[in-house]
């Protein structure tokens, strides 16, 4: 997070992490499509010729406090990392300064190991940046629910109930579960940063108002509570667990 008082801005960085081809870029594309361009900018994608992310994708979202005179702006930059093993150093670079992470897993049974490997990679990279997963707002998305041969719902619900991170099911190609994941992550990140830095009063809006405001400015009509309600298990409200 960066606070720029002169520019009356607060910048947040959210990162979509996950194994290669799990659908991180597709999530951003869907998010881009599902939101109005009033608050979000162009999707910046830096792709290689074979359609895979070279460095990262970035979708900027700018929320403005809806107060009469000059509230601060909350600039949220949503990044994806390149999933391929090859780009390890880039992943670490993109992770630097992240405020929250959405881990996009591939639901297909055959990808189970890749998901796990990528999660360990995330943990390793965070620890190289002197960060710990425990103190980090993280949501997990199980993407590609529309495909056959995926991890069964029952199993996910059971494991999610035991795990720490909220889990969202998604099918990013159809846009399903994308907003839920994003709002879940925004909620956790915002809750944690507000607890640590008092962001709400800095921006000048009540803490509970941020998500509805974001939804409004992004042109989303679904009730925010409904979006957050889609999460399986995990603890959506304990993003502010403090640093370990």
């Amino acid at each position: 997070m960066q606070i720029n008082f002169g520019g009356r801005e607060i910048a947040l960085k959210l990162v979509y992490y996950g194994p290669a081809l799990s659908g991180k870029t597709t999530n951003l594309r869907a998010l881009h499509q599902l939101t109005s361009d009033q608050a979000r900018g162009r999707l910046m994608t830096l792709e290689t010729r074979d359609d895979r992310t070279l460095f990262f994708d970035m979708l900027p979202v700018t929320l403005r406090a809806e107060v009469p005179a000059g509230g601060m702006a909350l600039r949220i930059k949503i990044f994806t990392v390149p999933g391929q093993v090859l780009h390890a150093s880039t992943r670490r670079l993109v992770l630097q300064g992240a405020d929250g992470i959405a881990f996009v897993a591939d639901s297909q049974l055959s990808e189970t190991e890749h998901n796990a490997a990528s999660f360990l990679d995330l943990r390793r990279n965070l620890s190289e940046l002197s960060l710990s997963l425990r103190s980090f707002p993280v949501v997990i998305q199980f993407n590609k629910r529309d495909l056959p041969q995926v991890r069964p719902d029952q199993e996910l619900a059971m494991l999610a109930g035991r795990g720490r991170e909220p889990v969202f099911k998604a099918s990013a190609v159809t846009g399903q579960g994308v907003l839920e994941t994003f709002f879940g992550l925004l909620h956790m990140t915002w809750t944690k940063l507000d607890a640590e830095h008092g962001l709400a009063s800095m921006i000048g809006i009540p803490a509970a108002e941020l998500l509805p405001m974001a939804a409004r400015q992004l042109g989303i009509t679904t009730d925010v509570r409904e979006l957050l309600g889609a999460s399986l298990g995990g603890r959506l409200d304990v993003g502010h667990g403090g640093r370990s």
């Binding site: 830096l46 970035m58 600039r75 150093s89 670079l93």
Partner: protein
């Protein structure tokens, strides 16, 4: 950590970077873009940076403006208007109209990128559609003004409705936004590229440092091992000398006559003592070679006497085993640079080895000849190099059990034997060949193994000629 940690953080690149039009857009291109708008709509367009610097100016002066500027007070009024427009803030709405005393007008608009103001766009002067004639402010601007002329020229100023201007400006801004986005993307890509190259470099440096450290440690360990070996061999040799000496005295009857059985036992003690001594000497040589403390005294020598000496030394052994030992010299042999003592050791070892593995009625041949060095390429510069690259080749051919091809690279390792059963059958320590290899290396030569069809092995030792003598330099005076 010696290497710097990644300095360019992505957040610095993307999160907090201030996008500046002047950094991302080519000035001339921007000017061209503006000119194309002027060509299309006839209305001047200027682009200012957020700090107020003029970035593109595609304005051509209207005739009215040119005329007004010929009048002293007109010029003053014009300058005041222009500087007012130039410093006009587009306001919270990002779009402000600013009238001119001539009846024409300007529009000052904000250029936004990603929700931030990055510059201003000034459109005008143009004639608002509701202005029909010259206003009083124009007619009164200078006593010398020719009203009729001003009226005529005013009509020549391009006329536009407010929303037309809005549309034109929106279009220009959209085009500019796209250019800014592309520029920004390219900028971020290159920065990211740099950062990730730097990060990879840092990782590589770290790894190299670790490897270097490990390498240094291993080298130190190796040195310690060699020096330990040298010390131990030396210490072992001292008591062994006594064992050999006293058993020799015993067998010579210096301490009284021995029974045949006692004689045999003492003989065994003496033989085994000798065997142990040669093993220890071999170890000592090896450790000296490994630690680099073995002295090799190089001089120009002929190889023939060395080989002849080897043959005469080992002929009794060969005879005892019923193996024929021959020496063949093909053609005239050139001199080599070498230490005769060490070369003798090389060929003693090789011939001993060959004799050991050659069954009765077999033959061991020591063959020496000059060969042309094929070099390591496809004959590049062969015509130039081959005369200077005639090597001496000494082949030790046996008709023994042979060495399987896959074992060949390993037989020069210390203590290695093709299979341990051969140790029991043929004896030996497995040190000889590794000493040979190191000694040949010390002579800048090579040793390799070939088949001796149909049966047996050939050890081929190649020794380079003494370094070519450089031709006498032709010195030009001065």
């Amino acid at each position: 950590m010696s290497a710097p940690s990644p300095e360019i953080a992505v957040e610095d690149l993307v999160l907090a970077d201030r996008v500046r039009i002047e950094d991302l857009v080519d000035r001339e291109g921007l000017e061209e873009l503006c000119r194309s708008f002027v060509t299309l709509f006839g209305i001047p367009v200027r682009i200012y940076s957020v700090e107020g610097a003029l970035l593109a100016d595609a304005a051509s002066e209207h005739e009215l403006c040119a005329y007004v500027n010929t009048l002293p007070q007109g010029r003053r009024a014009c300058a005041a208007t222009v500087s007012g427009v130039r410093s006009q803030d587009p306001g919270a709405g990002g779009d402000v109209a600013r009238p001119c005393f001539t009846g024409a007008a300007y529009r000052v608009m904000a250029i936004q990128y990603e929700g931030r103001r990055v510059g201003r766009l000034i459109v005008g002067p143009f004639l608002p559609s509701d202005v029909s004639g010259p206003p009083a402010s124009l007619l009164a601007v200078d006593p010398a003004l020719d009203a009729e002329r001003a009226r005529a020229l005013l009509q020549k100023v391009p006329r536009a409705k407010a929303d037309t201007i809005t549309r034109i400006a929106a279009h220009l801004k959209a085009a500019l936004d796209l250019i800014l986005f592309s520029g920004h993307k390219a900028h971020v890509t290159s920065q990211m590229h740099l950062a990730s190259v730097r990060e990879s470099y840092r990782q590589l440096e770290e790894k190299t440092a670790k490897l270097q450290e490990a390498f240094d440690r291993l080298r130190e360990l190796d040195r310690l091992k060699s020096s330990f070996l040298a010390t131990v061999s030396h210490e072992l040799r001292t008591p062994l000398t006594s064992i050999i000496g006293y058993s020799e005295m015993l067998s010579q009857g210096l301490a009284g006559a021995l029974s045949p059985e006692q004689q045999e036992f003492v003989g065994t003690i003496h033989d085994k003592g000798q065997q142990l001594l040669s093993l220890i000497l071999g170890l000592l040589d090896l450790s000296k070679l490994e630690s680099g403390t073995m002295r090799v005294r190089m001089s120009r020598i002929g190889i023939e006497p060395v080989l002849a000496q080897v043959v005469s030394t080992l002929t009794p052994t060969a005879r005892k085993k019923g193996v024929e030992l021959r020496m063949v010299v093909e053609g005239t042999l050139a001199e080599v640079k070498g230490d005769p003592e060490r070369l003798r050791q090389v060929f003693i070892n090789l011939v001993e080895n060959a004799l050991k593995f050659t069954p009765q009625a077999g033959a061991v041949t020591l063959r020496a000849r000059m060969v042309e060095d094929a070099g390591d390429g496809d004959g590049e510069g062969l015509v130039l190099l081959s005369p200077t690259r005639t090597n001496l080749e000494v082949r030790v051919e046996d008709t023994g059990i042979g060495i399987p091809a896959r074992e060949r690279p390993r037989v020069f390792d210390a203590f290695y034997q093709v299979d341990s059963s051969s140790t029991r059958e043929y004896g030996g320590t497995g040190l000889g060949l590794s000493i040979v290899k190191r000694l040949v290396d010390a002579h800048a030569g090579t040793v390799r193994i070939e088949d001796n069809a149909p049966q047996g092995t050939v050890f081929v030792v190649t020794l380079p000629p003494p370094a070519p003598t450089a031709p006498p330099e032709v010195r030009s005076p001065g």
